[in-house]
Amino acid sequence: MKPAPDPDLVRTAKAGDEAAFEQLLRPLIDPAYRFACVMLNDPGAAEDVVQEAAVKAWRKLDQLRDGFDPQPWFLGIVANQCRSLRRTRWWSTAKVAEVPGGIGATDERIARDQDLRNAILRLRPRDRAVVTLHYFLDLPLEEVAAVTRQSVAAVRSQLYRALHRMRPSLEIQEGLR
């Protein structure tokens, strides 16, 4: 269970305290970066996106309501930033993952991980987002709904559809267990 955000910290940060803002945002940077890496399949671009999102978070801090968890709020900003970047750079949905282990690696597990990774990267961005948030960042459905601004039921159905598309790769993984 994640600890509840300190309401005083949020209030202090909103009052303009630089240290409080950094304390608030610091634990959110890594999950945001991991999220952006999957959404963009480009670690360099993900770094840029997270930095830009941090600036936007600072500018929009007064929109963060007292008592609200800042993580879904910040991940929502990152998601929007990824979307903007995809639009401006004609990002490809067909771009697939880099191969781990370098040329010559033949491990079956690596190949199967790659199949699953490619299946996830081929999902539509909004489907990829819910899969990443729930299964990679381990966010509960309620937080995924908050990030993607939809109902929990909609997230559940979106996850179901995405898993259906990924099913062959997942079943292969299952068979390996």
Binding site: Y33, P43, G101, N118, F136, L170
Partner: protein
């Protein structure tokens, strides 16, 4: 049944390699925030300009909102019956098989001309055979072969590699598969049910945007990798039992300049990428919606031999279609411009705006809404055009005065010879017999099926959102 815990564990393992640890990222981010904060403090006037910008943006949004509302109202006024073109005779073809009349959506659901779902394939991606009767799905160490008519699994064929991009030979016997680790091209004999040949490749062929093409006689295979940056091209020769690399090059190497496309491709791109080999097997043609460039690559020298640029206003609108002959048609739904390119003469033949015949009561602000919110999926392009089997008629999605629909256009003079209003205007697919047009809507939740001869329309709601179709290679 897939359980949540194992899914989570598999996803973690699969995605972890995409993340490059950056311990200094928080420091970099906060440094950036401090820099912005300092700049803002020094430039108080910027806040005023920002406020003005926000006001201007709000005004713009309001204007566009009105335009979108108008557009939505127009759509809601559409009646169930389309405007028919009673004299229109659709060119037909018997060259394809019965499975070619079934539309396969990008959610891998098959729908027949009456709107009945014939089946759903449990795969993440698939491609169609040239006769339209069969679907191939790449799975681990096997290729699954499905009937396009029923959606039933017919058989599995073993393969040794783990490539994930494929093309079928025109006779439907072999499947060329690119990618994998180690990377290479594998040829699978679909008739014999086994892997027939393999050739390793060096260079950027496994990652990023890639595709594989097969010549008309099946003897030449061309692999293209890293198409969104510095492209790599390999030319391979296949004689039925052995596969060997004849030559390969990466763009930028001395003497080699190759086209690229900054990653822009239709979603679910099997069979739909805007590239093809000319009938002689010696020339590769590519089209890039990002810059409108048509490029001819001399495969003996592996460099660009010629280029022409198609006029474009918004790259997200450009929907390229190769005809069964040696023609390329580019349709830009937002401007209604159609351009034809003769691939043998390497010239633009005709470029003109094609409108519905009775284009009245056009919303004057629609162009603004379309410009700011083009009807496309980011990173993808709606497939908004198709050519009749005999190559004489182009079907395109179109904006009418009070709705959207489909136009039939003669390819020689671009005259409109048929028009129908539909409840949709996303991607378009023409059945293999040339008699039925399937059109998705932009939300992916509606499929309109137009019977060209009768002028009737069936509308269905897919069980899962669908935005595009699996095309039949020609």
């Amino acid at each position: 049944m897939i359980d949540d815990k194992s899914t989570r564990s598999a996803v973690h393992r699969a995605l972890e390699t995409l993340v490059r640890p950056v311990p200094e990222l928080p420091a970099k981010a906060f440094q950036r925030v401090r820099a912005e904060r300092g700049a803002d403090a020094m430039s108080g006037w910027r806040r005023w300009s920002q406020a003005a910008g926000v006001l201007a943006a709000a005004a713009l949004v309001a204007v566009v909102g009105i335009a979108l509302h108008q557009a939505a109202s127009e759509r809601s006024r559409l009646g169930p019956a389309p405007t028919t073109s009673p004299n229109f005779v659709a060119p037909t073809s018997a060259a394809k098989g019965p499975g070619a009349t079934i539309a396969w959506l990008d959610n891998l659901t098959g729908v027949d001309a009456n709107g009945h779902i014939v089946g759903t394939i449990p795969a993440s991606v698939a491609l169609r055979s040239p006769d339209g009767n069969t679907l191939y799905a790449l799975a681990h160490q096997k290729v699954e072969v499905y009937s396009a008519t029923t959606g039933k699994l017919e058989r599995t064929v073993s393969r040794t590699g783990s490539g994930d991009t494929a093309a079928v030979t025109p006779d439907g016997r072999y499947l060329a598969i690119l990618g994998g680790n180690p990377q290479g091209v594998e040829v699978v004999d679909l008739l014999a049910g086994r892997s027939a040949a393999y050739a390793a490749l060096t260079g950027p062929f496994s990652n990023d945007l890639k595709f594989v093409l097969v010549s008309a006689d099946g003897s030449r295979i061309v692999a293209v990798g890293n198409f969104w940056q510095a492209s790599a091209v390999a030319v391979l020769r296949f004689d039925g039992s052995t596969l060997r690399v004849e030559r390969q090059a990466v763009s930028g190497q001395p003497g080699h300049r190759l086209p690229n496309c900054d990653g822009m491709a239709p979603q679910n791109a099997f069979g739909g990428l805007p590239e093809r080999l000319l009938p002689d097997g010696a020339t590769l043609v590519s089209f890039c919606p990002g810059d409108g460039l048509v490029s001819w690559v001399d495969l003996s020298r592996l460099t660009i031999a010629a280029q022409v640029r198609v006029q474009e206003q918004n790259p997200f609108w450009l929907s390229p279609v190769f005809s069964t002959g040696s023609m390329l048609y580019v349709h830009e739904p937002g401007t209604r411009r159609v351009t034809s390119v003769d691939l043998l003469k390497r010239t633009i033949v005709r470029s003109a705006v094609v409108n519905a015949k009775a284009s009245t009561a056009m919303n004057p602000l629609r162009w603004l809404a379309d410009t700011l919110f083009p009807p496309a999926i980011a990173g993808g392009i709606p497939r908004s055009a198709a050519v009749s089997p005999d190559g004489t008629v182009l079907f395109v999605t179109a904006v009418f005065g009070d709705g959207i629909g489909v136009l039939a256009v003669g390819v020689r003079d671009f005259h409109v010879i048929g028009q129908w209003k539909l409840d949709g205007g996303g991607s378009l697919w023409l059945s293999g017999d040339g008699q039925t047009v399937f059109v998705t809507n932009n939300g992916g939740d509606r499929l309109s099926i137009l019977h060209l001869s009768a002028g009737t329309v069936v509308t269905v709601t897919p069980s899962m959102p669908a935005f595009d179709f699996l095309t039949i290679p020609n």
